[in-house]
Structure formats: C-alpha cells, structure tokens
Subunit: 360 residues, 2 copies
C-alpha cells in the first residue's frame, strides 16, 4: 500500500496518579495463559518508593534491569525470554516500567515470548510471525516516543535495528506525570531533546505531510514551553506537558522520518554504546548548517538549563572507528533520503558522513 | 477508575488517494462470519463518481442512506440490523462512508448486529454487552470527530444519547483528503465549526488537562489556518489540514467535555431535528458573554466566508417548545458542570437555559 496504515496504542490512561490504576487495568488479562505477569522495571527504582507501588501479585515475576551499561540487546531479550518460559511458562502479559530502553525491552519480550528462535531473526519490518503477548508500558522518563512507536530497538551482533510490526505497539499505556518528577536534570534534558530533535528532523525533510506536521509542530510548541520559554523547567505543570509532547512527537514520526542527527546517532551508539538521547544531543549541537533554526533554539535551551555537553570526542577516535560508525549511519538510506531529498546519495557519501563524525 | 482509560482507533491510514486501499485493507477480515461486508454510504454519493469506487464485491450489501431528513435514530438502526440479519446473516464487518451521521450509523450498526433487542436499551455508557463487528470509517466531510469518538449518537423516542463504549470506536479509519474536496461551502463551514466550537468548549471549563489542551489547542490552530488566516478556504492544502484538525479535536474531548453550545444544541436537535453542526453555529453566535474570544473569532470566520445564519428563530417557538428543548439541555449536567464549575446548578437553571433558547 502507498499510504501507511498505522497501529495505535489500544488504550491510553493519562493523568497524575493514574499509575495506581495499574492492577485494575490488567485484572481482566490475568486469566490468560499461566495467569501471571512479568514486570520489567528500571533498576534505578529498586530501592525507591516506586518499588513498593508495583501492585504485583506473589505469582508475578519482577525483573529489575540495569539499562545503564548498554542499550537493549538481542542476546539480553533471548536470555530473559528463555529464563521466563523455562521457569513459569507463558505469562499473561508483560509490564514495562521505565524509560525508552525498558519500554523497548517490554515490547521485544512480549513478541519473543511467542516467536521462536533468536530475536536477531526478526530485526526489521514485519518479520515477526505470531502476535505478541499483551504488553503495557509505563514511562518514567519522557521523550523517546517509545511508548507509542511500533519499534522495539535492539542492538544485535550485526546491527542496531528494531523489531518493527503492528504487534510491537503497546496494548496499554499509562501516562502518569508524577512518575517523571524525580528525573535528574541532565537526563530530563537529554530525553526531552529526543522529542525536540526528532520533530525538527520530521519537519525538515521530504516525507512529512499534514498529519506529521500537526503532531510534530505541536510537540515542538510543547517542548518550547518545557525547555525554553519563561516558566520552563522541571515543574509539575511542565511534566504534564512533556508526557504529551513525547506522545505527539512519536506520532509525528508515523508519517514522517527522522534525519541526519538520528542517522549519525545510530552509528555512535552501535560502535561506542553511547545512550541514544545523549548521543543525539552530542551530535545535534554541530548540525547548524543542516537545521539552522532548530540548532539555534537547542543551544538556547542548553544555556538556559546549564547543560554541558562533551566536546572534541573525535580527537580520540581512530580512522577505523570513524569508518565503522559512518558505515552504520550510511546504511540508513531512508533517513538521508528524507533529509536531503532524492539526490541524497550525492550528498551523504561516506566521506561526508565521516566528516560529520569528525565534528564531534 | 479516576482517570479515563481511552480506546484509540485501532488503525489509521491518512493520505490523499488512500481510499483506493479500502479493498486491500479489509481483505483479511473478509473471512469472518458470512464473508461479506455491509456498506453504509451517504445517499449524496449515489450518482457521484465515488459510487463507482467503493471496491465492493458482488456479495456485499450496499445501503445508500439519506441523512438529510433527520439524524440517525434508534428505530432506523434496529430496522437496518434486522433486515441485514434476515437477508444474509452476520457480515464480516461494516464500512461507513460519509459524514458524522453515516459514521455513527456504521458504529451503531456494528454494535447492534451482535447485541439483541432494540438499540434504545443501550443508549448510555457501557451498556453494550457483546463486542461489535469489525467496522471501518471513511469520512467524506470533516469536523464532528465522529471518526475518533467512542460514541454513536442516536435519537430515540425518549432521548438523544449515544451508544458509548470501547467497542464503539472504529477498528480502522481511512482519512483521504480527496474525499472532502467537493463538500458544499456552507456545510464545509458548519461541520468544520463543530471542531472549532468543541475545542473552545473543551478549553474553557474545569475538566481539561494537558492532554486535552495539547490536542484541542492544536486543533484550534489548524482551524484558524483553514477558516481564518490568509490562505484560508477550501484548498487541497487546507483539506489536508482539516482532516487532522477533526481527528485532534475529537481526541481533545477524550479528557475534557463540551459545554454550553453543545448542551443547547442537543435540545434544538432533539425537538426540532436541526442538524448538529448547523445547530451549533446557530447557537454559538449568541454566546459571546460565555466564550468571548471564541465567538469573536467565529464571527470573523462567518464574515470571511460569507456564511449567513438564520436569526430570530425563537420568535416562532411556543413556550411549550422552548420548555421541551430546555429540558433536554438541562439534563446534560456534565456539560454545564464543565462549563460553569461546581456551582453550575445555581447558574444553569431552567429559566437561564430557556433564555438561551430565546436568544436564537
């Protein structure tokens, strides 16, 4: 089909305090399969009050996962899946509580619990064979749009690429602004900037349409309220807004595409393991020739919230490392095509992309 | 639960020309039940080119329905349902092609094909017992938000009230801006103003939150592009935008509520049969004391597009008629509550509401 037919999140609850409705929400699903849920929770919350509010039952499995050492990997998902199935059989569903990586783990796990073999087999579009299990996402940090996207991004031995299909999309999302109130300022900034940057990229390219522009431009307006205007900063009112901005930013990509920053970011993350949102910020500051207005505004936000980003990283990279990173980026033609138009191959050559990495 | 858990449209296709994908889209569903689809199409298209593009198969039932004499009624739905079941048994699904009334008929029919007895039994929230059939909506006029709402509004012998539940929401919507290009200017205006008015009402009240404001305020921005700014009018570019505005306006109501204009409008429609969007416009022009900015802008749009609205209607209404209309409006407490706050009963008395009708 020429026009994308996009799958929505089935159901969305939004509101301060709505996390307390989790147990009620999943109750009707609890009769499925072996009548228990798998919780995947960011390790950050292990000793925090949230760990007492999970509303889990004794039969549920709760995994606290440290997403700091690296982004989700295919091996990690396969190991988790095999352990769960051998221990308790097929669960009723998967509940993910955390940031973009945790949400991607929950999405990937729900698919891999019903699809045989390694998740490396399914990295790509519509490769998954069977519908996944019911899965519910609770973001505790906002910006990536992972709560609404049809992709569970995984880093495998060969590529960083998502399990992407209709079944990847969450059956339920609970958006409770209370949960993002304690995010450290630097990560509040980096993750929120993921929304800002992908909306700038979505807007500036050939793939957008009235749908992606309506969502993306409103997400940009909301981002400016949270990060730039008078009254910006980590306030309860802005947390309310940021959660909606992240959702709308994700929906903007439904009919558009990310661009140069994300292409470079994937290379950096794949080879050096740099976290996605942080990598975006490190790169975006150097793209003023490509996104002049967006980068200008971004720098004002950096200044306003006293964020410092590393400089001169590439001085320590060998030519071999740069070539490896550039190769990953080069192999994302849809991003370059969107950003530079139909003659993108003439612009985004390996030499051009290597030079982008040398700016960092 | 305190926070609404709202059901999204399962899948959405957006884009100029996307209607041509209808047959492909429903193909996987065609194996269900007695393997045929029911088409519900606005009678306006009976002799128009669209009637040759329905992509129906010989076994499908196509009903052209005239929605001009009145808005959808419970009796109409029951009769249609009984006729379909006795003729061909349970269909695979229902496809609605038309404006808000046709979309509401498709939604109601999909529910009533699997729920016994008269549809009057199910007017209200969550009264439907069984999931409805697969149903797909194709708007040919934009503004009511019927394509995204969880309500199929029906006028019964006793009340004008929707069949409202998660199953009411469409499984699939196809948004093709080509289809709204030939809407006559007056109805292009009235229906688009339904979005504008319900976003003004959604914004000005006690029920809104960051979610409803983000959606509603963007729908207002888009409405201004289509109806007010330089470049406004019925252009292809504005048709693209209007379809998204209608969707976002509908989503704004997910977490908010309509207000005074809609409460009065329901009374007018129920007693005199005035079409919903037209009734809204007739009323909204007289609510400058309640929504000063919105009504001011509305009047500028009226002037810009040379729309004339009837004046002095109430001169011809008996006190009995006005009492009947006011009674319908009075019995919509959630709208008055949203508009006037917790002491709404002191403001929205029967006398006050009758006076609103006398303004018309």
């Amino acid at each position: 089909m020429n026009h994308k037919n996009f799958k929505n999140i089935d159901k969305v609850t939004y509101g301060r305090g709505s996390f307390a409705q989790l147990a009620q929400t999943v109750e009707p699903i609890r009769k499925e399969n072996f009548k228990y849920f798998v919780y995947v929770v960011d390790n950050y919350f292990k000793d925090k009050p949230l760990s007492k509010q999970l509303q889990n039952k004794p039969e549920d499995l709760v995994f606290y996962i440290d997403v700091d050492p690296h982004e989700p990997t295919t091996e990690q998902i396969d190991t988790l899946r095999d352990g769960i199935l051998s221990k308790k059989g097929l669960p009723s569903g998967v509940i993910g509580i955390g940031g973009g990586s945790i949400l991607d783990i929950a999405k990937a796990l729900s698919l891999m619990l019903t699809n045989e073999g390694s998740s490396t087999l399914y990295q790509g579009l519509n490769l998954i064979k069977n519908p996944g299990l019911y899965h519910l996402g609770v973001p505790t940090i906002s910006g990536t749009g992972a709560e609404v996207s049809m992709t569970a991004v995984l880093t495998g031995p060969e590529k960083k690429l998502g399990l992407k299909c209709d079944w990847t999309v969450f059956n339920q999302v609970i958006l409770d602004p209370d949960l993002i109130s304690s995010v450290p300022t630097d990560w509040w900034f980096y993750t929120g900037m993921d929304t800002y940057i992908h909306c700038i990229e979505s807007h500036n390219g050939i793939r957008n349409n009235a749908f992606s522009l309506a969502y993306g431009d409103q997400a940009l307006n909301l981002s400016r309220k949270v990060y730039l205007d008078d009254g910006s900063g980590q306030t309860p009112e802005n947390d309310d807004i940021l959660m909606v901005a992240s959702l709308m930013g994700g929906l903007s990509l439904t009919y558009s595409e990310v661009g140069v920053c994300h292409a470079v970011s994937y290379g950096l993350s794949k080879i050096l393991g740099t976290r996605h949102c942080y990598a975006n910020c490190i790169i975006f500051q150097h793209l003023e020739d490509i996104y002049p207005q967006g980068v200008g505004e971004f720098k004002r936000m950096i200044k306003k919230h006293k964020i410092s980003l590393p400089q001169g990283l590439s001085k320590h990279w060998s030519d071999d490392t740069i070539t490896k990173m550039a190769t990953v980026s080069y192999n994302l033609p849809f991003m370059w095509n969107h950003a530079f138009g139909d003659n993108y191959k003439e612009i985004a050559t390996m030499d051009y992309i290597k030079d982008l990495f040398r700016r960092l």
